[in-house]
């Protein structure tokens, strides 16, 4: 479709070939904004490099006249507009100002710690921010993560002779890490998928693995499906019937120069067995 950006160039050309021969830059890309501001303040620059931004076809002669008047000079091209145009422009200024201010205030209240305002207007702020402007910049804050958490899983498979056999634990996180090692561009599938699914699960479940509702149920299905996808329907010569997931978490030890004692033993959180349906593999 018609492009916004062609216009300024065209206009500049029209001015260069203007009837009065007065060359005037609209200066979109040619002129760094601050240099123009500085030059206008100084008021000593040659007329062919600076000047108020032209207002299009209102005429450069009018511009020259306006430049002599103090206030009009500051207003640039706006001073050459009709009253209707000025009203339209004023409304636009108001809309953009209010829009930007409201947006930035909402984002600020969203990222700031819970405070008087964000508590009082929590509903309005959340309604504005979610889902598209949600953001979290507490990167490694207030403290960086200080533990390695591996998600492990095992399956109960039915052998062709009908017996049920439980497999050993498979460290799915370790398999991800093996793919990340010496890889300059790791994939989100290795770096984020399981890690974030597990934190989604722990965020939406209590210590007794009780779901907090819809999100908790989704989290459980998600973890189950990730395990099912990685195991596949057939494992160790049998058909996968149920899976069980656990996390193995070990704290990173204190730095060698520190006197701090940190317990670095591995702790397990074991979830109940989950039945797997054929759809979970697709």
């Amino acid at each position: 479709m018609e492009n916004l950006h062609g216009l300024s160039y065209r206009r500049r050309h029209e001015y260069r070939s203007g009837a009065n021969g007065h060359s005037e830059e609209t200066g979109n890309d040619m002129e760094p904004p601050e240099s123009r501001a500085a030059d206008e303040t100084a008021g000593s620059s040659p007329p062919d490099t600076v000047g108020p931004p032209a207002s299009g076809d209102a005429g450069t002669a009018a511009g020259d006249a306006a430049r002599t008047a103090d206030g009009a000079d500051e207003l640039g091209g706006i001073s050459r507009l009709s009253v209707t145009s000025r009203i339209v422009l004023a409304l636009a200024v108001a809309a953009v100002t209010v829009g930007a201010a409201v947006h930035l205030a909402m984002v600020f209240l969203h990222v700031a710690p819970t405070n008087t305002l964000s508590q009082k207007y929590a509903q309005a702020i959340n309604g504005y921010i979610y889902p598209e402007f949600e953001q979290n910049w507490k990167l490694f804050a207030p403290n960086p993560l200080q533990e390695n958490s591996d998600v492990q899983a095992r399956a109960e498979v039915r052998k062709p002779d009908g017996t049920l056999v439980t497999t050993g634990w498979v460290d799915l996180t370790a398999m991800d890490i093996a793919r990340i090692r010496h890889n300059p561009i790791p994939s989100h599938t290795e770096q984020n998928e399981l890690r974030r699914a597990w934190s989604f699960y722990t965020d939406t479940h209590d210590d007794q693995n009780r779901s907090n509702g819809l999100r908790g149920d989704l989290a459980q299905s998600y973890v189950l499906r990730i395990v099912a996808h990685r195991f596949g329907p057939h494992l160790n010569g049998g058909d996968v019937q149920r899976v069980q997931v656990r996390s193995a978490t070990a704290a990173v030890g204190a730095p060698p120069w520190s006197t701090e004692k940190i317990d670095t033993r591995t702790y397990y959180r074991v979830l109940p067995w989950w039945a797997v349906s054929p759809e979970d593999f697709t």
């Binding site: 300024s8 422009l89 300059p184 819809l214």
Partner: protein
Amino acid sequence: MTDQPTAARRPSTGPATAPVPSPFAGLLRGVDRTVARGLSRITGSAIAPYQSAVVRIGFSLTWLLFLLREWPHRDELYGPGSPWSWDMARTLIGTNHAFSVLMWSDSRLWFEVVYTAAIAFSVMLLLGWRTRTASILFMIGVLALQNRSVFVGDGGDNVLHIMAIYLAFTRCGQVWSLDGRRARRAAACAAPGRDPVGLVLWIGSALVLAWATAVGDLSGFWAVALWTALATQAAWWLVRRHAPGEPRTVLDMIANLVHGGAMLVIVVEVCLVYATAGWYKIQGSRWEDGTALYYPLHLNDFTPWPALSHALAGNGLMVMLITYGTVIVQVAFPFTLFNRRVKNVLLALMMCEHAGIAVILGLPFFSLAMIAADAVFLPTGFLRWIGDRVVRLLRPARRAVIPRQRSADEPTTSTLV
């Protein structure tokens, strides 16, 4: 402002002496002038053309490289074969009303079309071809994939998501773009502004939008937003063609104004990112005792090069310097915007730190996105210089025909802020 030097020097002894002039004299007039000048500047041209272009190029390139890198994994991440199934995505979106065109159909064909289109849209925006349309299509592509699978993203996806929306309001294709080149050529030959490609693009967009609206896949808000965007383009085209006088000038000014507002939002957003990242760290005991950096270097998910990470983590002094330096730079950055020189030093430091994060923590796309966001603060002189270097590198044979865009005596140290 209007202080008289003689009056200021005169000692105020007796009641007969003249009153000390108010330092606020002329304040209102000064404010008036400043507002008028600011208004003129922000409506007269789209401010910071190089900064908006570098942000455009940075984010479209990040997203393009990411999509290409994940091409083999696209189905697992966003497709019908994802563990985050289409039905689960629909359930979640039913609660938060996020916008994703991938929710229009669960078919594999539609997914492949959307993923491929997202790649095409990022190329469009990268090259600055039909930038106005491209920026909106780019945003639709980013939201489609990210909102389909919200749990595979990281901070890099987060910043890209937000910036993709902001970019749709900017005039980011004035320089370093095919649009810019086309406009220069059109200006040079003064040909009548016929634009069959633009017309085809607009009609195509309108048909797709009409279909989506008719089928009922568009939520109310997004239907209004996208139809408004389309109508604006039609109005723009009509005004350019049939009302080339003042209406066009006013439209141009409003577009510049919106661009300025969006650039302001981008700048403040980046400041909020650093302020949040920095201020929350101050409360952390590990950032206080100078060991915070040690721990990520021992997280298995973020150590693609364990030998390198452990070597760095083994140096206690280095760990402390980088730990403290990170907090200082992040907290200080927004305030250094008042001093160009200090700001540029911190900017260089932050970009280097992100480049380091790309390698050491194995987060290349996050780092690239953050560097693209940082780039909005780069000085115009630097951007023009680097742009020139790149052009010369890419086209050594055509060195002679590159047009000079600025006379030598013009200042080159301008920045957005």
